[in-house]
């Protein structure tokens, strides 16, 4: 299944939008980009490595000349890409539960968007506008987003201990090492194959 690589799932979706609504989506994105507090729910979900929304207006589909015919579209389009941990159902459920308001502000402008709640029409809509990937690569398939963040905390703690421990007596080192273990003990979960969805 090419949407899944290790613990990471790639969701790709495209939705049509009336051109006069595009400006409202851009205003919302501008606010989201400039007020970091609005991103908190996205950060706190903590199972999305990368996500992006891309507005392609009806006149902005790339044109490279040659035999390519010009597009003649009535709608603008919103492409959505997400790289997340877990299964499709878990992701859509979490999105609907935690980010309903944010999602509605992103997709409210798209044609026939039913809202993130209730969940059944929302899932039906995403299933309808999603299309399959043909190749999917991730550099760390064994690691969830939380694994990556925990690993960086462990690395920082190791670097800090390495820096201060030079020249320490064994007893001084023992104290510093105890502090180190206390600091990293919650970040040592093992990585590997996902428990579900493999």
């Amino acid at each position: 299944m090419t949407n899944l690589n290790g613990k990471t799932y790639a969701l790709t979706a495209i939705t049509p939008m009336k051109p006069w609504k595009t400006i409202f989506l851009r205003i919302f994105v501008f606010a989201l980009s400039h007020f970091k507090a609005l991103n908190n729910d996205l950060v706190n979900l903590s199972f999305i490595h990368f996500a992006r929304w891309v507005i392609v207006t009806r006149k902005q589909f790339p044109y490279v000349g040659g035999s390519q015919p010009r597009e003649n579209l009535k709608y603008d389009y919103v492409l959505f890409f997400s790289n997340f941990n877990g299964t499709w159902n878990q992701y859509i459920d979490a999105f609907s539960s935690v980010l309903a308001i944010g999602l509605n502000l992103f997709w409210h402008w798209s044609n026939k968007y039913p809202g993130a709640v209730p969940i059944t029409p929302f899932k039906n809509y995403i299933a309808r506008v999603q299309f399959e990937n043909d190749h999917y690569f991730t550099a760390y398939p064994h690691a969830a987003t939380n694994d990556v963040k925990a690993a960086h905390r462990v690395q920082a703690a190791v670097d800090a201990l390495a820096k201060v421990s030079t020249g320490m007596t064994p007893d001084q080192f023992a104290k510093a090492y105890s502090q180190f273990v206390l600091k990293v003990q919650c970040d040592l979960g093992s990585t590997g194959a996902a428990p579900v969805g493999v």
Binding site: R52, V54, P62, V64, Q68, D147, H152, V158
Partner: protein, 216 residues
């Protein structure tokens, strides 16, 4: 610029696929067959392109009709969608694609209209930028670490878990010596492999034999 988040770049490319009614196998199907045959682990093409965190390729046959009263419409071309999250800036990354996996780039984008090939890097860059669409909103959960830093951190995490377990109950002097050996192993370890299997990162190998530290 919405294409960037911290030190990461989010590239989105839509390349129109050749429509040749006379072809035995249509270009979109040939492309799908090729893409589905590519390895997706450490032997895959994007594992070889330095700085690639996550990349996907998809053939978009058409836009979606979501039902009435929305109007049904269709694209004039099918598009190859390339979505990539990588370290640094666009030009160096495109150059790395052209030099580190030229055969795959040629094999994939040769199904797209007016693709100039990768030998002329300037033309290649210009083509890819012509097909690029600007990201409107880009979210990267960890946006200040390179792929190599992340892979090394994951390796360190595994090694530290093992280290703590192995050295539990030992004297401070022994633990200190073992920690020095771990740091030395980390320093001398080769660069971790991108895209490697699902068994997780290998821990740094150290051994202490007869009071002398040996690195394996």
């Amino acid at each position: 610029m919405a294409n960037k988040s911290g030190s990461l770049y989010g590239l989105t490319i839509l390349s129109p696929i050749i429509d040749d009614p006379k072809a035995d196998v249509s270009h979109d199907l040939a492309l799908r067959i090729y893409l589905n045959g590519l390895k997706r682990d450490q032997d895959g093409p994007f594992a070889k392109v330095t700085g690639t965190h996550i990349a996907r390729l998809a053939v978009m046959n058409d836009v979606v009709f979501v039902g009435h009263p929305s109007k049904e419409e269709h694209l004039q071309s099918q598009y190859l969608v390339f979505e990539c999250n990588f370290d640094g800036d666009l030009d160096p990354y495109l150059d790395r694609m052209a030099t580190q996996i030229p055969e795959h780039v040629e094999a994939i984008w040769s199904h797209c209209i007016n693709f100039p090939g990768v030998k002329d890097k300037v033309a290649f860059r210009a083509y890819m930028k012509k097909c690029q669409v600007e990201t409107t909103f880009y979210f990267a959960d960890v946006n200040d670490k390179t792929v190599e830093q992340t892979l090394r951190a994951l390796q360190t995490q595994t090694s530290v878990a093992s280290f703590i377990e192995t050295n539990q109950g030992k004297s401070p002097a022994e633990i200190q010596q073992a920690f020095s050996a771990l740091l030395e192993a980390m320093k001398n370890a080769p660069a971790p492999v991108s895209g490697s299997g699902l068994n997780g990162p290998q821990r740094y190998q150290t051994a202490i034999v007869g009071g002398t530290i040996h690195h394996e």
